[in-house]
Amino acid sequence: MRYSLFSLLRQTLSQHRGWAPAWRDAVPKPAYDVIIVGGGGHGLATAYYLAKVHGIRNVAVLEKRYIGSGNAGRNTTIIRSNYLLPGNNPFYEWSMRLWEGLEQDLNYNTMVSQRGVLNLYHSVAQRDAYARRGNAMLMHGVDAELLDTEGVRKMLPFLDFENARFPVLGGLLQRRGGTARHDAVVWGYARAASDLGVDIVQNCEVTGFIREGERIVGVETSRGPIRAARTGLAVAGNTSRVASMAGLRLPIESHVLQAFVSEAIKPFIDCVVTLGAGHFYLSQSDKGGLVFGGDIDGYNSYAQRGNLPTVEHVCESGMALIPALGRVRMLRSWGGIMDMSMDGSPIIDRTPIEGLYLNAGWCYGGFKATPASGWCFAHLLATEQAYPVARAYRLDRFASGHLIDENGRGAQPNLH
């Protein structure tokens, strides 16, 4: 069923009794052309673009719980493409362009809202660094504006501009950045992929790989063996665990990142704002809750929950930037498990094992990458070739020294 004003009116007349489920909850077949492990945004987007762009429709997405139950449901929904390095910038800009046409493409309201992403700077040196990043963005065809204090004050008059330690001197603004509805992204891709014939198999945990000689020809799952010529992993957070079943050791550590939402308040902030002096980012959801987060806790974890020092640190950062937050009650906090790669950038590549392909290492930037990650991983699975904008995301870059270290912090995952 195609969603439209007409279908809505027709369902209204029949008291909304005729809506069909948005996608098929499939029973796994014994074999497919391609298996995608992981039913998050990246896995579902990969399956969708495999079917739509490459015509490969005999595809299964295997999800151990229900789709969107991992990091796709645990992020802060920010989309942007304000990157500095040539390995990153074209990829994230491609993702932004896909976001801009996503709702028409999927026929699903993913609530893409280009409300602007504003990174604040607090020193002259930081202004110069942001100007450099803004120039790099402009040279890649990405929009960027450098604001001074007055420019920021017009947008967000309630910031603590005269903070003694970290005064707000201005910001780097990407107006095309913003937010999207995370659950709708998962459901939209699932519905569109399912319509093209992709099997979405839930409650199906991969427990091992089927080998023929050196080659991987499928997976063992909690719902029986499933064979496929090509198997792609899109299980960020758990990549090391799944890859270890194939004997791979990866340049990844799993860390917990916490996020927070306040009680719903009246419209307060109409963009995404980030503190440049620490790590704090804030936006307001359409329900009115302030959605915010900060740094990862900083130690290896698969627990999907963090500790209180990080909660305190994030809230302190928020209070330093926006004193009015002190009147708002925090409603919920949660944790997601991040694939922290050794240079802070992702991996979309073949593996040394024939038949096994990798989409991993998204650190805490995976949500904004969802469309381009799916697009590029589908291209790799279909053609064996890297899509041009993802060419730098090689697995062997750590051995060859071609790192993409956006922050220049070295092989210390808890600092990226």
Partner: protein, 86 residues
């Protein structure tokens, strides 16, 4: 999360800095395959879900390096040794 420091007693995790996996030895730079072994030591990690040996530094306490076994699924501290104990 609290870490029982052998010198200071049980202290809040906020007092500690985390380095990462404790099982990576610095390879011999004169070895014939030194480049490969340095790559493995610097970049590759087991990253287990379960007990994990790791190095913590009690920076706001006794400034000792600690070798800690911690369950990454529950954050439970299973064992604490002083850093140079093998």
């Amino acid at each position: 999360m609290r870490i029982p420091c052998p010198f200071c007693g049980e202290r809040d995790v906020n007092e500690f800095a985390y380095l990462g996996a404790a099982d990576t030895e610095r390879p011999d730079p004169n070895a014939r395959d030194a480049a490969v072994r340095f790559y493995e030591a610097v970049y590759l990690r087991d990253n287990p879900a379960g007990p994990h040996n790791e190095l913590w530094y009690h920076s706001y306490g006794c400034r000792s390096w600690l070798r800690i076994t911690r369950d990454t699924l529950t954050h439970e501290i299973l064992r604490v040794q002083i850093g140079d104990a093998h």
